[in-house]
Symmetry: C3
Subunit: 209 residues, 3 copies
């Protein structure tokens, strides 16, 4: 399982950069920036482990994930202007991150012997998008994943693919299939600006409460 | 326990509509709207199950809850203008939702054999208001329940009632008593605009930090 | 362990006042204010217990913590103008709160027989700053701890100190050492206005997404 570990680090790197950029824009201090990067990179897995009742979540057992996230965050902080020039690379890495986290999340649910398609797809989705949601809540933004582009859908389709293929192929192969599908859908959505519909409301206020 | 299941679905429907309306106003895309509806409808139970250490929270084991929430959310999204005309129905359904979630939350704590009045009332309260808090945090609002009207108090009084009556009557009867009391208090509070006091502050800024 | 219990209550009192002041400024109603105070005072321990899988978190088993938090919150609400005059006291109490929560968090991780420096320091940090983060998320603010002053660093250094000393001295002595170090660093940081660097960004907008 060496190759997937490489991808996990790619995901952590991508998410850490994304968290760092948001933190800098929100004028957080260096600690805040590093912490936000860690939340973005590790938050999805943390939430999944809490939901599955993993008595000590994985992120606290593997400090190497946090160390990589911190190093990347500090480097991004130091070379802030430079980072901004690599928009295409960033989008690509971000899509890889989504694919990796989704695949690992759904895979680990299956690997824990959990049953139920809904549960497994949910764990893939939550692991994939949880970190970004945590980042946006702490940065006082409405989570980006709720607002535009095919982000969550990519994670859902990917998680369904691991479900369908895990009984045909080896679990590991189906993990790679999920990763590739999720990442590809995300890249295509960004490339062709595919968006989900937004309801137009005329702003006459209403009160449900 | 057939009747209470009917009420549970009423609660899910009410919460899903409420989440959908907030999502539309915040200009979320359709995925965001559906996700926000699900958080509102299922978030309270999810938080309770995490706190009680239920190894896989109930919402992931019963996809039917999520499916109902999604269908209602999409229908609300499609018939947005229509929905707004039924203000009274919405308030009524919302009160039923609060009553159901509170009753089910406190009931399931007692049913798990948990002891301690404080714990059981807390579980009723958290199940009752947790979903609305999650909705408002994701929508970048200060949770409505902190701001006006007798919302939490209804859940607290209801939860206390289940405690007091569960040793006299059957557990199931006390569940219905809690549901009726919580729902009634909420309806009366909305009807007569009963509010909790708010402290007036003159805006001279201060720094605690 | 009588002395540390006294400090725990000092921490709860400090955090409850801080939560109450934020709640009043945000124009929450009295319930909202009391609830925000409780989140600030008890939130860090709650998050730690959830992460460590403590099947019913401590805060629900010890209602006395919540009762103290509520009484302090209501008193602060009643004597709001008075409270503001004691800025120095507030800062001091707040520093004691940070020290206590950090020490108790790291201590209880060691006491549970948990291994791993990273895990133990994380538990100290999360217990120390978790309540304040919860307060700020609910109050729709970017968590203060991400934005200025040596707050988290004090908790991290303190948690490291308990790690280093717990094998030399008794566990209880190392708890006090952690408490003193964390509190002192925090007070010195406020007194001399020591801050972490913030990256200046020229506001030309960029999109990672």
């Amino acid at each position: 399982m060496i190759l997937i570990e490489v991808f996990v680090y790619a995901g952590i790197i991508a998410a850490s950069i994304s968290g760092t950029l948001v933190g800098i824009q929100k004028k957080l201090d260096l600690f805040g920036v590093v912490f936000l990067a860690a939340c973005t990179a590790l938050g999805g897995g943390l939430i999944r482990d809490i939901i599955l009742g993993q008595s000590v979540p994985n992120v606290f057992v593997k400090p190497q994930y946090f160390i990589v996230s911190t190093i990347i965050s500090i480097l991004t902080w130091l070379f802030y202007q430079r980072t901004l020039q690599f928009q295409t690379t960033l989008i690509l890495t971000d899509a890889i991150g989504l694919g990796v986290f989704t695949a690992v999340g759904a895979y680990s649910a299956i690997d824990h012997g959990l049953k139920g398609a809904f549960l497994i797809v949910s764990m893939g989705l939550i692991t994939g998008i949880g970190g970004g949601i945590m980042r946006d809540v702490f940065a006082r933004e409405i989570p980006l994943v709720f607002q535009k582009e095919i982000y969550a859908i990519a994670a859902i389709v990917g998680s369904v693919s691991i479900l369908l293929t895990s009984e045909i192929f080896s679990k590991l192969s189906s993990l790679y299939i999920c990763f590739v599908i999720t990442t590809l859908i995300r890249i295509i959505a960004v490339r062709y600006k595919v968006n989900f519909p937004i309801r137009n409301v005329n702003d006459k206020s209403f009160n449900m409460e």
